[in-house]
């Protein structure tokens, strides 16, 4: 696993089918568990669907914020790796993340963050299969842009609302 990867996002292309949530939770949890999926689709208004997942910011504010050193990064994929044994569920990483991407697992309250499925992300596969390409696996290395995708999903949705609905879009979220 030497080629760098990233999951590119095209928010406007997200259909809201949430198969990414299903594929992710099937892979990580063994069964469908939407709130345990590392990628969660927020839909504050119908039509404005936003996939919310880790963007692997180059400066990894989450990793730096962990008081017990439970977070690290994978040398191969550059994904954030959570050591669930060490994690105490304090929520510091959630607060440190500009987009509040991590969340506490609904089962055991441990920090849950996308690990890029060891280089072959399931979510991108199902999104590509269905022809949406809202989540797209690309062979691109780290860049300054990644941290820009760590943004509160409601704010992203507000932008999409204007894109799709014009002035009306400002009223719906």
């Amino acid at each position: 696993m030497s080629k760098p990867i990233w999951i590119a996002r095209d928010y406007a292309a997200c259909s809201g089918c949430k198969r990414c949530e299903i594929a992710c939770s099937m892979h990580h949890e063994g069964w469908i568990w939407p709130e345990a999926s590392r990628v969660r689709i927020f839909m504050p208004f119908p039509g404005c669907e936003v996939p919310h997942l880790c963007a692997q910011c180059n400066d990894y504010p989450c990793v730096n914020s962990c008081p017990v050193g439970a977070l690290s990064t994978s040398a191969d994929t550059k994904a954030v790796i959570v050591d669930r044994e060490k994690c105490t569920g304090c929520g510091a990483c959630i607060r440190a993340c500009p987009g509040s991407v991590p969340f506490l697992h609904p089962g055991d309250d441990k920090a849950t963050i996308c690990d890029l499925c060891n280089g072959d992300p399931e979510c991108a596969k199902v999104c590509k299969e269905a022809g949406y390409n809202a989540l797209m696996l690309v062979e691109e290395g780290p860049s300054v842009h990644r941290r820009l995708f760590s943004r509160n999903p409601i704010e992203v949705a507000k932008d999409l609302a204007v894109l799709f609905f014009g002035e009306k879009g400002e009223e719906v979220i």
């Binding site: 406007a12 292309a13 259909s15 809201g16 089918c17 949430k18 198969r19 299903i22 099937m26 949890e29 063994g30 069964w31 469908i32 568990w33 939407p34 709130e35 345990a36 969660r40 927020f42 839909m43 504050p44 208004f45 119908p46 039509g47 919310h52 569920g89 929520g91 959630i94 509040s100 991590p102 969340f103 506490l104 609904p106 089962g107 309250d109 199902v126 299969e129 269905a130 022809g131 949406y132 509160n152 999903p153 799709f164 609905f165 014009g166 002035e167 009306k168 009223e171 719906v172 979220i173």
Partner: protein, 622 residues
């Protein structure tokens, strides 16, 4: 616990303000499955004995919102809403695609059963912690869009406050009513996601009669475990492969039907079904798509069909209207059935119908009916308050609002086409038949946008006439055998019919078995489970009451209009064949083990485990 079920149901007694939980034993679940089937069973068990006396808009009726074991696992998760229908006085399993369905299951509930009536408007909130009845006075009167926005905010804030440390909370799933439901417009819908509706049956009015504005759910738990997980995962992948391969349907949804059904199969309602053929290119699919479809790949939970698209009007008097494309049913009912062939006007009326919480099919049916009465001089400008001319979107906009608010003639039309016809006959001192001949209803339920006269569409002679759900185009009667594993199965499963068609049936039933562990096959549904559910529905339908009861055989018929010859188009002169209706009706009854009047026989009831229904059927046979 069989696979796929969360295991418990939420009970909300709005009279007492009490929340509790209920379970059903494995035999019941295997016999009735979920959704439509289980709802019929619950209704029979709890209010079946006094059925004829129960007012569907009274506190004794139940409002039932159920998932099924396949919801959220099989593609296209849906909720099924039921109860005693204020229209047919039977039951309808009325479904809509919505995240509410899987949120309920992840919260640990297979469904919600609501009884009684609240003093003040309320909504029910369901979370991992259980159910709560919450005040909704501030929401009462809000249209669908406003309700969605307000509840997203309010419930989102509530959840975040309760458990702030777990990270960002997502918006909940919800079903809700608009002003039409609040004002108990008899055929009002239960709405969700702006433009999805449990349209048939009038359950929006039932919610309104209970002062129930919405049911909201957010669950963070697992989807219930299944019986054979590895098989289920494999079948999940395979079913999606089939759905993804249907490129034409994914591209157009049913949004090209507004031209297609009119021009091709000559079966589209035009001006209250006076015609069914047209060649108005202005109404073509591309005319909608190019100007209005802002999002062309839009889906619901676990669905790759994405037949839905989001439409937005960006300019002109209706700038800002947001709805779905519309789908074919609303293209015709909010379009051609009003004599409207302009996409922008159709999209506007579709938006309005959804905001008001009308059923997009049933509500406009009554409006088209009124417009024909106006055309014929039976209703005058004085009766209505303005001119109700075909093709005038402003007029239909106004009428739509009047009906939702029960103002003026709206109060009469709000009773649904059938009862409105009877009332207007009384008002105008005419014989009921004189008004009923323009009413396109079967057993009180207005008919979906697929006519039977050309015989070129998928609806034929007994499709509506024999159906326990009347004019419901999604649940047509066929031969009493193959149709038993069709929509009855999907409505009980509960999942979307469009995610059902296009996947080989064996695969779907294997999936059902892998999920539940029940020995399910197409055959078992066709011979036993389907007939069981339909027979129970038939019994309740015939028991009817208190304001209307159907006459067996006589009312198992098409509306008078469907026997008039088509006036134009390639099928001009053609009409529904009465002889065929008669003969196929008998075959249908026979196949299902009902007598020649369609009353379930004692033997059949025994065979299907419905022996306790027998005493009531005996009365009917006399």
């Amino acid at each position: 616990m069989p696979g796929g079920y969360a295991g418990k149901f939420l009970e909300a007694d709005l009279l007492k303000g009490k929340i509790s939980e209920t379970r059903f034993d494995d035999e019941t679940l295997e016999a009735y499955f979920g959704g439509r089937g289980l709802a019929a069973k619950i209704l029979w068990d709890r209010i079946g004995r006094k059925w004829a006396k129960v007012d569907a808009l009274g506190p004794e009726n139940l409002l039932i919102a159920l998932t099924g074991p396949m919801t959220g696992i099989y593609p296209g998760g849906r909720i099924c809403v039921s109860g005693k229908s204020p229209l047919s006085n039977g039951t309808v399993g009325s479904t809509a695609s919505t995240e509410f369905a899987h949120e309920l299951k992840c919260a640990g509930y297979d469904g919600v059963i609501v009884s009684g009536r609240a003093d003040e408007p309320v909504y029910i909130q369901v979370t991992d912690e259980g159910g709560e009845i919450k005040p909704a006075g501030h929401l009462w009167g809000k249209d669908g869009e406003e309700t969605l926005i307000a509840l997203n905010r309010e419930v989102g804030a509530t959840l975040a406050k309760k458990k702030p440390n777990v990270g960002l909370w997502r918006e909940p799933g919800m079903i809700y009513i608009g002003p039409a439901g609040e004002n108990m417009v008899r055929n009002a819908a239960v709405m969700t996601k702006l433009c999805h509706a449990c349209g048939y049956g009038g359950y929006g009015a039932v919610m309104g009669s209970k002062n129930l504005k919405a049911v909201v759910a957010k669950g963070r738990g697992r989807m219930p475990a299944v019986d054979a997980p590895e098989a289920a995962k494999l079948l999940w992948r395979r079913s999606h492969e089939y759905l993804i391969a249907r490129s034409g349907f994914r591209r157009q949804g049913t949004g090209y039907g507004g031209y297609g059904f009119g021009n091709n199969t000559s079966s589209e309602p035009i001006r209250n079904w006076q015609e069914e053929w047209h060649d108005e290119r202005s109404f073509g699919g591309p005319m909608f798509e190019t100007r209005f479809w802002v999002k062309k790949k839009w889906s619901d939970w676990n669905c790759t069909t994405n037949c839905m698209k989001v439409s937005c009007i960006k300019t002109g008097p209706w700038k800002g209207d947001i709805t779905d494309m519309p789908d074919y049913e609303l293209q015709s009912h909010c379009g051609t059935n009003f004599g409207i062939f302009d996409p922008e006007a159709c999209i506007h009326l579709s938006t309005l119908v959804d905001k008001l919480g009308h059923s997009g099919i049933n509500g406009p049916n009554a409006m088209g009916y009124a417009a024909e009465l106006y055309q014929r001089g039976i209703l005058t400008e004085k009766d209505i308050g303005f001119e109700l001319k075909w093709g005038d979107p402003e007029a239909f906009d106004r009428l739509m609002r009047m009906i939702a608010m029960r103002e003026g003639i709206g109060d009469v039309l709000a009773e649904g086409t059938y009862r409105a016809a009877l009332k207007i006959a009384e008002m105008k001192k005419m014989r009921p038949e004189e008004l009923l001949k323009y009413a396109v209803v079967v057993k009180g339920i207005e008919v979906g946008a697929h006519g039977t006269r050309s015989d070129a569409d998928f609806a034929h002679d007994i499709s509506y006439a024999a159906s326990v759900q009347g004019g419901d185009h999604t649940s047509l009667a066929d031969d009493g055998y193959s149709d038993m594993s069709g929509s009855i199965f999907a409505d009980s499963g509960v999942f979307c019919s469009f995610a059902y068609g296009g996947v080989p049936q064996e695969l779907v039933f294997d999936f059902a078995k892998a999920i539940t562990g029940f020995p399910i096959t197409i055959e078992s549904w066709r011979r036993v489970t389907g007939p069981r559910i339909v027979t129970l529905q038939r019994a309740l339908l015939l028991m009817g009451g208190p304001d209307v009861t159907w006459k067996p055989i006589e009312d198992d018929d098409n509306p008078p209009r469907f026997y008039e010859p088509l006036p134009n188009g390639p099928y001009a002169g053609k009409t529904t064949d009465r002889a065929k209706v008669k003969s196929k009706m008998q075959t249908y009854f026979q196949t299902l083990g009902w007598d020649e009047r369609g009353i379930p026989t004692r033997e059949t009831l025994d065979k299907l485990g419905l022996s306790d229904v027998e005493p009531f059927m005996r009365k009917l046979r006399e």
